[in-house]
């Protein structure tokens, strides 16, 4: 693991990866559009992912072995590629959640505590 500070693009990438993993954990196997729609919904429209952002992220996760993709059909009988978490993906998700919670807690304390 490299120790150099993450650049801004990497931080965004890392956050997006985490969001995708969590979405798949909550909703089960989904195709790309469903993941994007879900994230847009949860964020009340703040997070609008275009294909150029989403699919590189999915590809990254697939390359790292955290998700697995297979072609399938939607309820409306369209062909789509569905992604699901792998066991490695689950482990990575829980690890990332811990890191995130820890970091969020520290920042929260730093910014808002009056001690």
């Amino acid at each position: 693991m490299s120790n150099k500070p993450q650049s801004k693009a990497e931080v965004l990438q890392g956050t997006l990866d985490l969001m995708v993993l969590q979405t798949l954990a909550s909703l089960g196997p989904q195709h790309g559009y469903a993941i994007a729609a879900r994230l847009e919904q949860i964020s009340r429209g703040a997070l609008q992912l275009n294909m150029g952002t989403l699919y590189p992220a999915l590809m990254r996760l697939e390359q790292r072995g955290l998700v697995r993709g297979n072609w399938g059909t939607t309820e409306t009988n369209r062909k789509a590629r569905f992604y699901q978490l792998t066991p490695a993906g689950r482990r990575e998700l829980s690890k990332e959640r811990q890191t995130w919670d820890q970091m969020a807690g520290i920042i929260q304390t730093l910014l808002h505590d009056r001690t």
């Binding site: 490299s2 469903a34 609008q48 294909m51 150029g52 699919y55 590189p56 590809m59 062909k79």
Partner: protein, 443 residues
């Protein structure tokens, strides 16, 4: 470490792509269809829905670009692309390309050839152990007008005895001899040396042995010889030669050793080494100068300290030897030059300088000249490229309009130049090899 793994993976992906482009595109299109479907469900009509989906989700080609950047090594693919384009562009203007390549080749070949010589002759140290310690000694005899003159036997032996700066000093003569090898007579270059010289130089025998101390410096050296490795190969067919006899100038000599490959005496191209002897008469013939001397400085001595000692010795040479300067053999002795026309000194020069001497200056001048030639060649090619760039302005404008950034255009231009240089360099190296061979043969 992770970045290295990442890099390797991307390289692999570039060569053997995992998911095919078609597959990715299909996934993107399905994304758009699903988005349009969703929009229709929200109440838009099909056309508006499709448009809305495209606007929100972005374009397929942009997404494909983003995916490509993610998986592969974009700069590598760009490089391959640029090389292709560069070659095509150069093929379209063959006259320019050939002129540029030939110009570069000429400049590079001249430099490579001359520098090979500089490197081989001037920069490479002498092939003796610790060559910086080796000094060539000879005499100066202004009375006869000689600034470089051999030494006499007596002077050599006295110097050996008197000096403290040299670990060893040896003497030699060079010449030619007639050698009977098989049934053919050959004229070979000879070096008549004493054991001290072989020890001073530090040359080794590849087979057999060299001369022992008792075989040289005596009035009647034994009939032995050492031949060079090259002569052993060429004249004796690399057959066993030790203890065999050879005919040299009518005398039968026994070969006691074969010199190591490449061993030589000051570029003499020595093929046969013979033992040096001094008779009593030769020792007494003080003004018969026929020996060249080479000495190896002591480990602690410097050239300056040895020179100082030599100057001091020359001042007192007459006193040490008990000889009063006078005419004829009996009065011939070293004397400082300051004493006028009778002055006669022993002088020392670093061996490398003695061997190369005047030649080194010519070679350096030649190197400077071809260096300038290369500069001129580069200036010419730069002019050619400049002229060419002007005629390609429209081409670059189109590329800019299609979205190429400045750095990308620069990379393309540089790739072309690198292709030209590589071709010119390759051709230049080939020419240089031929050139060096020709030069070596000519000299």
């Amino acid at each position: 470490m992770r970045t290295l793994r990442e890099w390797i993976r991307r390289l692999w992906e570039t060569m053997y792509p995992g998911r095919r482009d078609g597959d990715l595109e299909q996934e993107l299109r399905s994304h758009l269809e699903l988005a349009a479907e969703d929009a229709q469900r929200r109440g838009l009509d099909p056309d508006d829905a499709a448009r809305a989906a495209r606007i929100e989700a972005g374009g397929v080609s942009q997404a494909m670009d983003a995916l490509r950047d993610q998986r592969r090594l974009p700069w590598l693919e760009d490089l391959v692309c640029d090389v292709h384009h560069g070659l095509r562009a150069l093929r379209r203007t063959p006259v320019f390309a050939s002129v540029a390549i030939v110009t570069l080749a000429l400049g590079i070949s001249a430099n490579t050839a001359i520098f090979s010589i500089v490197n081989g002759v001037l920069l490479r140290p002498l092939a003796y152990p610790r060559p910086a310690q080796l000094m060539y000694l000879d005499t100066e005899l202004p009375a006869l007008g000689f600034s470089q003159f051999p030494a006499s036997v007596a002077e050599y032996l006295e110097f050996q005895q008197f000096n403290r700066s040299f670990a060893d000093v040896g003497a030699f003569r060079t010449g030619e001899a007639n050698l009977m090898a098989g049934d053919r007579a050959r004229r070979v270059r000879s070096a008549i040396v004493d054991a001290h010289l072989l020890n001073t130089l530090g040359v080794q025998a590849a087979q057999g042995r060299l001369f022992a101390g008792g075989e040289t410096g005596v009035p009647s050296p034994p009939p032995v010889a050492v031949i060079s490795y090259e002569l052993w190969q060429s004249a004796f067919g690399a057959q066993p030669i030790i203890s065999h006899g050879v005919d040299v100038d009518g005398r039968r000599l026994q070969v006691v050793g074969v010199m190591a490959r490449g061993a030589d005496l000051m570029d003499n191209h020595t093929e046969i080494w013979l033992p040096l002897g001094f008779t009593g008469d030769e020792r007494r013939a003080r003004n018969n100068h026929n020996l060249h001397l080479v000495g190896r400085l002591n480990d602690g001595a410097t050239v300056a300290s040895a020179q100082t000692e030599l100057n001091a010795l020359i001042e007192t040479w007459g006193a040490r030897t008990g000889i009063t300067p006078g005419p004829g053999h009996a009065g011939h002795v070293f004397l400082p030059l300051a004493k006028g026309s009778a002055g006669h000194i022993l002088q020392m020069t670093p061996l490398a300088h003695q061997i190369l001497g005047r030649a080194s200056r010519s070679i350096w001048v030649l190197q400077a000249a071809v260096g300038l030639v290369l500069l001129i060649a580069c200036a010419n090619v730069a002019n050619l490229l400049l002229g060419r760039a002007e005629t390609r302005q429209r081409e670059f404008a189109v590329m800019t309009a299609l979205g190429a950034g400045r750095s990308r255009l620069l990379r393309k231009a540089m790739t072309e130049s690198v292709i030209l240089s590589a071709a010119g360099g390759a051709l230049g190296v080939l020419l240089a090899r031929a050139g060096v061979e020709a030069l070596v043969r000519a000299y």
